[in-house]
Amino acid sequence: MKILVPVKRVVDYNVKVRVKKDETDVELDNVKMSMNPFDEIAVEEALRLKEKGVASEIIAVSIGLPEVQETIRNALAMGADSGIFVNCTSKLEPLSVAKILTSICNKIKPDLVIMGKQAIDDDMNATGQMLSAMLNWGQATFASKLEIQDKKIKVGREIDGGIENIEVNLPAIVTTDLRLNEPRYASLPNIMKAKRKPIDEMKAEDLNIDIEPRLEILKVEEPKSREAGIMVKSVDEMIEKLKNEAKVI
């Protein structure tokens, strides 16, 4: 069984993101970049399936500027077998990414695609669902548990109010939620080994896909800030304020 894991290079989740002065974007110069945390969970889950003997091959794919190859190397250092780098200089939306991934899936024919439920930069939560629509595959979004049985995959999904268990025919798309697993750190020997693993390169323009953005970003601004209130000295004062000043209890 072959698993494809798309990985995205994003601003590290520990970085306090700031809006640029000209309000065109957030500040990305000299900011630490990392693999999208939900994608790390996806890589980890693929590795666990391989360790269980269910999967035989894991391919990590990333799309963008040459820097995204670092993110592919991270996935290889965690244990993925090979990578695909799609060189693309234009700005990408989930719709375009899903189209490029569709073309890759048609070429390499994975049995399963595991990917993050959303990227922590644009918070779109869209690529996985769009990809499954384009491939006409089943989808299991927000996975917190998964198990492969024969030609099917059983997935526990995080939904409002609890967990929903579904069964999806393979090939399928799974998007990962936080509690699926805790990703491993790449060990030093594995980081060294990853340098020798193959990364295939292709150009987005050679795929003949319309990747023109459909959303034009007019402005990126700071959210409205909330003023700090007062510190109270005791529980009694707190209750008094809530009752008589805020009138919320």
Binding site: P94, M124, N125, A133, P223, M231
Partner: protein, 310 residues
């Protein structure tokens, strides 16, 4: 220009977020609703008096009972591709179905919208709410999910406004099969629509210690919430999680206990009307957005508060 709102529900009851989504849709003109369920009647009864809507389209089919994204998205794509806007609530159903529909219709989804600037321009949070992007759409069809807490609820009148009409037929592709659900049973109000939310963080230290918060919540008739740190530590179930990766809430009163106030968490609750923070660390960032802060040991303050409320 025609706008469709896909109604979110559990086959018996309307999900309240739908009312906010309809309110948002009314800004876009000519609003029709769509109910896909194995039993549409009760849901339609809740919708029929909503002001400023036109048609309520229904399709009653056992296959819709579990709202599988594959079936719902195919059905909507086949029957509503002449619409200008298709709106969903940004709930787990909306987040599952809407992007798949967008993929089928070759359109870029506009998720988690918090403001409609004009008919093609929308505001949405990015980077866990650290920035707000204004996007102008070049889509032919806008598929939008609405953040419920950012919009009022649609008004309900006395007259039957919506005209109920059956539409379409489903051919299921059987890509996915529903097995079962493990829903958290709770007597408490639903987290995203509760008037008061009591939320705990890693400061609680264990699953058992959350009981002191639950006592306070029950005294106040509040819903329980938690920070991602508390969920990750395994103290409470994930569906309690408030924050960018969990639920977005905006109650009248939000009580944050033992929560430091990571930006991720603040993104999920900063629109609450009144926020109080209880944390023994007086430097905790939660105090910078709290209306009332109390720098005290929660294990002392929370039971005291609970005993003094009546």
């Amino acid at each position: 220009m025609k706008t469709l709102v896909v109604v979110d529900h559990n086959n018996n009851k309307l999900d309240k977020s739908t009312l906010n989504t309809i309110k948002a849709a009314i800004q876009l003109e000519n609003v029709d609703l769509l109910v896909l369920s194995d039993s549409c009647k009760d849901i339609c009864n809740e919708l029929i008096n909503i002001k400023n809507i036109n048609n309520i389209f229904i399709n009653e089919n056992d296959e819709f009972k579990n709202q599988l994204a594959e079936d719902s998205a195919n059905f909507i794509a086949e029957n509503f591709k002449d619409y200008t806007n298709i709106l969903f609530s940004n709930t787990s159903n909306g987040k599952n179905i809407a992007p798949r529909l967008a993929g089928l219709l070759d359109t870029m989804i506009i998720p988690d919208v918090i403001e409609i600037v004009d008919k093609q321009t929308f505001k949405r949070p990015i980077y866990a709410g650290n920035a707000i992007a204004t996007c102008k759409s070049k889509n032919k069809i806008n598929i939008i999910t609405i953040r419920a807490t950012a919009f009022e609820e649609a008004e309900i009148g006395d007259e039957n406004v919506g005209k109920i009409q059956e539409i379409g037929s489903l051919t299921t592709k059987n890509l996915t099969k529903y097995l079962n659900s493990e829903l958290t049973k709770s007597e408490r109000p639903e987290l995203t629509s509760a008037d008061i939310v009591v939320s705990g963080g890693r400061g609680l230290g264990s699953a058992e210690n959350f009981q002191i918060l639950e006592k306070l919540a029950d005294k106040l008739g509040a819903a329980m919430g938690a920070s991602r740190a508390a969920v990750d530590a395994g103290y409470v179930p994930n569906d309690w999680q408030v924050g960018q990766t969990g639920k977005i809430v905006a109650p009248n009163l939000y009580i944050a206990v033992g929560i430091s106030g990571a930006i991720q968490h603040l993104a999920g609750m900063k629109d609450s009307k009144v926020i109080i923070g209880i944390n023994k660390d007086e430097e905790a960032p939660i105090f910078s957005i709290s209306d009332y802060g109390l720098a005290e040991d929660l294990f002392k303050a929370v039971p005291e508060m609970e005993s003094k409320l009546n």
